[in-house]
Structure formats: C-alpha cells, structure tokens
C-alpha cells in the first residue's frame, strides 16, 4: 500500500487493499507470446476484480505495424483463450479502451519519442500522473538497447508531476556472471536498482509464498527447522514435456540456466532463510541474499553435480524422441536437460545439511516439490519390539505444483498386540481444502510491481550471487569435468543422479 493510499480517509479500517495508483503499463514485445498468454490476461483479470484504478492503460510496443484497434482485437482473442476467467464483453470493452499500441523497433529513437508523446497525452486525458511501468517481454539481448533508449528519451525518470517509473525484466538475466554484470551495468546506467523488478514467476505462485507462511506463520516448525533436526533438503522439479518447439532457446540455455539459476535457487532461499522482522521488500530480500552468500562454492564439480540429456523413451504411454532429435536442436548437442547438484549452506542453521537440487525434462511426472527429511530418533525403541529394523524418517513435503499442498510422514503404531510401526502420511491439499481459484502468478506479480512492492522480485545481489555459484559449474562442465550422461525419456534421470545422493547414504524422495 502506498503512502498516498494511507492518506485517503476512506481507507481507514478497511482490510489492506492493494489498489495501485493510475498508471500506464508499457509492454515491449507486445506482439509476442508472453504478452498474449500471460500479461494481458493477467491485467484483464485484475481489472475485472476491481484491482486496477480508473486511468489505467496498457501501451503495447512492438515492430509490427498495428493500430490500437488491431492490438485490441488480437488481445481480445488472447484473453478469450488464455484468461482463467471467461471473457465478459462489458468488462472487456471497458478494459480495451485503455489498450494502445505504438509501432517501432527497439533501436528506433523516434519510436520512443512517439511513445513519450503518447504517454503524456494519456496522462493529460486520464490523470495517470506520469506513473509508468515498462515491461520487457522481449529476448534478453534487447534489454540494454531498450533501457538505453528509454533513458535517452527521458522516460526512465519520474515526471515533473511526481510520477514513478519502474522496469520489469524477465529471466534469464544474463548467461553467466560476466554477461549478467554487463547487463546490470547497461541497465543500471539508466535505471536505479530500486526501479528494477526482476520477475521470477515461481515467486508469484501461491504455494511458493506459502513456504514463508508455513515457516513463520506457525510456531511448531521453526524450532526444528535447522541442522539439529533436519537431515537433508531436496528441491525437485520434474517436467514431462520436452523442449516443446523451443529447441533454439534451450540450446542456448540448458536446465542449469533455465531453472536452477532462478527458480530452484529462489525456492531454496525461501526454505533456508532466517526469519524477517517485517514482510517488506528489502527485509525479505536481505535474508534471501544472505542465504546465497552462505552457499559454499561447489568444490568437486565432478562429484557433486550431474548433467544429463534425455534420449529416446516413453512418457505416459507414448514414445517420445530424444533431445537431439527435437526440432531446432543440434544433433550433437551437449546441452543438459537434466541437472542435479549438492549444495551446502555454511551458516549457523544449516552447516552440514546437504541441499540437493534436481530438475529435468521428460521425467515420468510433472511435479515441483521441496522435501525435508528429518533425522531419526536417537534411540530405536521399537526395533526390538517388532517395529522394523530401519525406521522411516519423518518427511515434510511442500508440493508446489501441480497438486499443491503439504504432507507430513510420521510413524504410527499398527493396531494389535505387537508394536509394529508403519509410516503414515498426513496430507493437506490446497485444491481440496480451499477450493478457491488462486490468482495466476503473473496477476500477483504485475500488481506488486504496479504497487511498488518488490518483495517477490529478485534483487541484483541475489542474481549476482547465484551466477557466482553457478558460473564455475558451467565452466567446469565446459572443460569436461563432468561428462554429459544420458537417460531414457520417462525415467527419473541418469545413474549419476542416484549416485549423487547414494554417496552420502541417502536417496531421492520419490515424487
């Protein structure tokens, strides 16, 4: 909530509302897939739910020579297809009046001038107060060019009317440490860090946010959330899909850049961070950054990382090709579609507790989970009484998708005269407990960016720390320190992944 909102006497006593001030959202790459699938449907839903104020507008910026009407027509089709709620004509008509389009290439200075004029005209007409959110839904190699031209056109700083300017940047933010620093330097010459919102849509997911609620909104988990009670933590992302026509992109990225550098490390930081004094942007991001800085560099990359690529196999009863046979992929490609690694966080809370990360395409199941395995009791009281030789440790699983929920495994006595102990699962599912339809991640994140709440966005120091950790891995892989393995599509990954945890006497949590 902004300071201006607090000054409104009609807000007194209302439950906290997240209605932003009037502003213009300028989407670069407005004719692209992200705009149609995610951004405009998300904004439409926010408008439908009364979360966007009067005077709100969207300006699409792209190369195609479209008019406002053409842009509106294409976006209407997109909303009808991709919105989580059906398109309502009355609301669409009202929303569409605020949709505009400016045609231009990203390096055309004249187009930015026209954009500026358009925004000024809208401010005058609708009282948007000079507030602008620039959203870069473009390939990353355009970020620096767009930022430069926004600066040259004097669109990167607040207007004389006191309006704010923010820049939303999609991942990936660089390909490695050097390119990320270069990008940060280029964007940073035009925008200040507090204006930059690096989006990671994982952080907009309800269940990712619930990690913090679960940890800090309950009194019973935090006391055992440490090295004394936790044996190991696993963050796993399984995808059944392959590269889905994005072979060209994936050839440049791979699983490490595409998933680990952002999503998995962000989830890890939420699991591992210390409590915050307040749930505000920098308080949370400070603690996350501390986690990144406490992760020790991987010393033995050959031993503690795994890289693999899927080969021909079967998923859900259907034969699927190997990665090298996918469209847009080099037949001799060495890009990893699966990676796993072991990380250590050297701080008071987590010293000696391994954090295992794994992510892969063409795995048997689509699932994202955090599994926290607790240590077994110090004394196996029930072994002598028929309780089994190997006690099953308590396991807490935070399921992020698709079947969002939390389950806790514990031992219970089997009814009878013997003391047989069996593991049982206490399982909480969001879908069956709170039937409400959660907002799309982009709705939450767009609203936060417009309001100016940066809590769920990634700060530069975290991005830099993540690259500092992973760039040596990329380099070592490039030098052949960890040869590429292959796994059958539809399997749980290569042998190396199993060996990664088995060498520590552990096993992967079964997703």
């Amino acid at each position: 909530m902004t300071a201006e909102t607090l000054a409104n006497p009609l807000r007194t006593g209302m439950r906290v509302q997240r209605t932003p001030e009037a502003c213009a959202v300028v989407v670069f790459g407005a004719t692209g897939d992200l705009t149609a699938r995610k951004l405009v449907p998300a904004l439409y839903n926010l408008a439908r739910l009364r979360m966007l104020p009067g005077g709100f507008s969207v300006v699409g910026f792209a190369r195609r020579d479209w008019s406002d009407e053409q842009f509106r027509a294409v976006m209407k089709e997109a909303v009808a297809k991709f919105s989580r709620a059906p398109l309502q004509e009355e609301i669409w008509d009202s929303f569409a009046r605020g949709l505009h389009y400016v045609s231009g290439t990203f390096d055309d200075a004249g187009a930015y001038f026209r954009l500026g004029q358009r925004l000024l005209a809208q401010d005058a007409a609708h009282g948007a107060g000079g507030n602008r959110l620039f959203y870069l839904a473009t390939p990353p190699d355009s970020y620096a060019t767009i930022a430069h031209h926004l600066g040259t056109a004097e669109l990167a700083r607040g207007t004389k009317t006191g309006g704010w300017v923010r820049l939303v940047v999609e991942k990936p933010y660089g390909r490695d440490l050097a390119s990320a620093r270069e990008l940060d330097r280029d964007v940073g010459t035009v925008f200040r860090e507090r204006q930059i919102y690096r989006i990671d849509h994982y952080l907009g997911k309800e269940t990712v946010q619930n990690i913090l609620v679960f940890r800090f909104g309950n009194g019973i988990f935090e006391p055992i959330w440490n090295r004394r009670y936790v044996d190991n933590v696993q963050v796993s992302v399984g995808e059944t899909v392959g590269v889905e026509g994005r072979g060209g992109y994936y050839e440049q990225a791979g699983a490490l850049r595409d998933m680990v550098q952002n999503h998995l490390l962000q989830v890890l930081s939420l699991v591992a961070m210390e409590p915050v004094a307040s749930f505000t942007g920098d308080a949370v991001r400070d603690e996350k950054a501390k986690v990144f800085h406490a992760v020790t560099p991987i010393e033995d990359i050959g031993r503690d990382t795994v890289r693999a690529q899927y080969a021909l196999g079967a998923i859900l009863g259907e034969s699927v090709p190997g990665y090298r046979d996918e469209e847009g992929v080099d037949p001799r490609s060495n890009i990893e579609t699966f990676t796993a690694m072991k990380l250590q966080i050297e701080n008071w809370r987590w010293a000696d507790v391994p954090f295992y990360l794994r992510v892969g395409k063409r795995l048997p199941k689509r699932a994202t989970e955090v599994a926290i395995t607790f240590k077994t009791p110090p004394l196996q009281l029930f072994r002598q009484m028929g309780g089994g030789d190997t006690p099953t440790p308590n396991l807490l699983v935070l399921r992020i998708q698709p079947d969002e929920g939390i389950s806790l495994r514990f031992g219970a006595k089997v009814p009878g005269t013997r003391s047989d102990v069996r593991p049982v699962n206490m399982d909480f599912r969001y879908g069956t407990s709170f039937g409400a339809d959660p907002p799309e991640a982009y709705e939450r994140l767009l609203l936060d960016a417009i309001i100016g709440d940066s809590t769920l966005f990634t700060r530069w120091d975290s991005v830099e720390a993540a690259w500092e950790l992973l760039t040596p891995v990329l380099d070592a892989w490039g030098n052949g320190e960890r040869p590429l393995e292959f796994y059958d599509a539809g399997s749980w990954g290569p042998d190396g992944a199993r060996e990664l945890v088995e060498q520590d006497g552990r096993e992967w949590h079964r997703m």
Partner: protein
Amino acid sequence: MAQDVAPALERLLDQFMPVEPRDIEAAFDRIWQDASSGAYDTSSVRLRVSNFIVWGGETEASDRFDHVMESLAQRHPCRAILAVTATETGPLRSAISAHCWRTALGGRHICSEEILLQGRPGGEREVASVVLALVVSELPVHLWLVGEPDPRRRLPEELLELADRLYVDSAAGAVTPVALRTIAGALDETETALVDLAWERTNAWRELAAQFFDSGTSASQLDRLTQIEIAGGAGQISSAALLMAGWLASSLDLSPASVAAANTLVEATCYDGTRGVQIRITPSPAGMELERVALTTGDAEFTIALHADSAHMHVRSDWHAEPVHRTVSREPDSDAFVVTAAIEDTSAPDTYGGALRTALGLLDA
C-alpha cells in the same frame, strides 16, 4: 488447482438419528473411513478450520443453509450445524451429511461435516445444549442468525457466549431503522464480534469509492466534497444505502446537523466544523439494494452505478480532461457469497460501528 479434483462437490447424506453426540461423532468417523478407503494413496486428513452454526426458523434457515454450504465448504472446511425449531417436530432429533470433493482417482476428500438439529418451538435452550456438545473445540465459532437481526431476543445466552463472530443481516428486518437500532443495541451490549451481512454487501461499493481518492492528487478532492447522493432499497431506503452514507460521513468526520428523514427520503446536511455536505438518500428506482452512489465536489463528480444486468458496475470520474470510466464485475449478493466473504472479512469492526451510528444519526429528525 489440484488436477485430480472434479469441479463439483458431492454431498453424502445420512439418515435421521438420535441426538447423541457420541453416535454423531461415530457416524462421521464412518463417513471419513468410507471416503478415504477409495483413495489412491494412504494419506488422510481431517481438515476443519471452523465451526459454522446457522440458527433460525426451519424453512428459511434450511434452504439458506444448503445454499451457503455449497460455497462455504469449498473455501472453509468446517463442521456446520443447522439448528432450527419446527412445529412438526416431536422430540429433538438430528441428521448428518457431508460435502466432499470427488477425486478423479476414486477418492473423496471431505470438506464439511454437516449436522441438522431440529427442535420444537420453545425448545431453543435444548437445541443450544446439543450445539455446545458438538462444536469442535479450539476452532473459531461462526454463528449466523437467520431472520430478524435481534440476537438478544432470539439466541440463548450460552450460544451468544460461544460464538466468536455473530452474523446478522440488517436487511432482514421488516423496518430498516428498527433493524439498525436493534443491531446498534446488540453492538453495545454484546462482547461477541458482530457482522452485518448488509454491510458486507456494500464492500465492493466502499472499495470503489475509496479507489477514487487513492492518489495524492485525487485525495484532495475529498476536501471539496459538497454532495453525496445514494439510491438504494425497494420501496423504502435500504440498510445498505444508509450504511453506505453513514460510512462516508463517519470516515470524513461529517456529523449530521440538519436532517429530514422518512422511509423514502433522507436529506441531511453534515458538517465537519467548517464545511457543509449535503447527503440525499432515496430508494432505488429499480428496487436494488444499492443502485447508485455519487460524490460531487466543486469541480468533479465521482459515480458508481449498478449495470442493468446487476452483474457489473460502472465507475466514472468526471474530473480530468476526459471522463474516466470503467466497468468492473460485481460479486453476487447471494447468501453463499456474502456469508463466505463475511467470514473472510478482517476489516476493523469499529468502521462498521461508526457507519451504523452515523446512519442512525441521519435518521433522527
């Protein structure tokens, strides 16, 4: 959300049974066991986040209970108790049922345990004693008093003490001013948090009105407010219209001074020490509980109006070079939606108290 969940709820019905809490609990245990026996894994959870008690006359309360549970059970897994008195009934009797999600793989997830308690007229204390035995301990108790909003007259004392939040509806009173005064009396004398469903139905209107003045520049328009016009109510002014006016006036520290009030027209001049603001409230020409709210300042007008289809609202500010108008969705004002929203509403009760008392001030000639 969860992929294996079918979109619809399923209702499991059981038979009438003797009023014995132990038997009722055992019957629920059976339902839970049956539900989990078809599940695809060994997981089980008995999730209940609250007790929800509905109290009222049989016909009206039963129908509204069924309707509300279909929505409430989805968002608030709960134990729900419908406690009614019925002339046809002999001894106190009960029946149980449950709502559950049917999963694609054959399992069920119970999301509400429902108990019907039927007592004879005059047997309210008897019914209340069973309610006390059946509530799940350590969970909040939401008590909805269906019908006339007079908790002190209609509810046994022990139920009133049991409830963490009591839901009434000032729109359910035959005469609006009487209903509002009754609630104001209860508000003063009852420690239980009291929620007026008519107030909940003004939520979207209040939110939209506040949005006009969220920015620094627009907030200053409130200092130049000269007139508030509200239309709401079928035939007579609705409690929602009065509460809306009361909320605007109390939030802006406006005290009613000169008042002319009747069932079909309230005209008042309110002051905050220096300026006077005219307030005019009339019934809705279309018979809607709230149809239009207009705020006029020296150089601007801000209006919220219900669309003819009642599913949308038009929001317009006429202040800048061009009028800014938009259309937004409006939540249904059904019991199911309003009660569910009221349970989730954590706004300060003081705001309602201030709005109610100022609304009553607008009625006092």
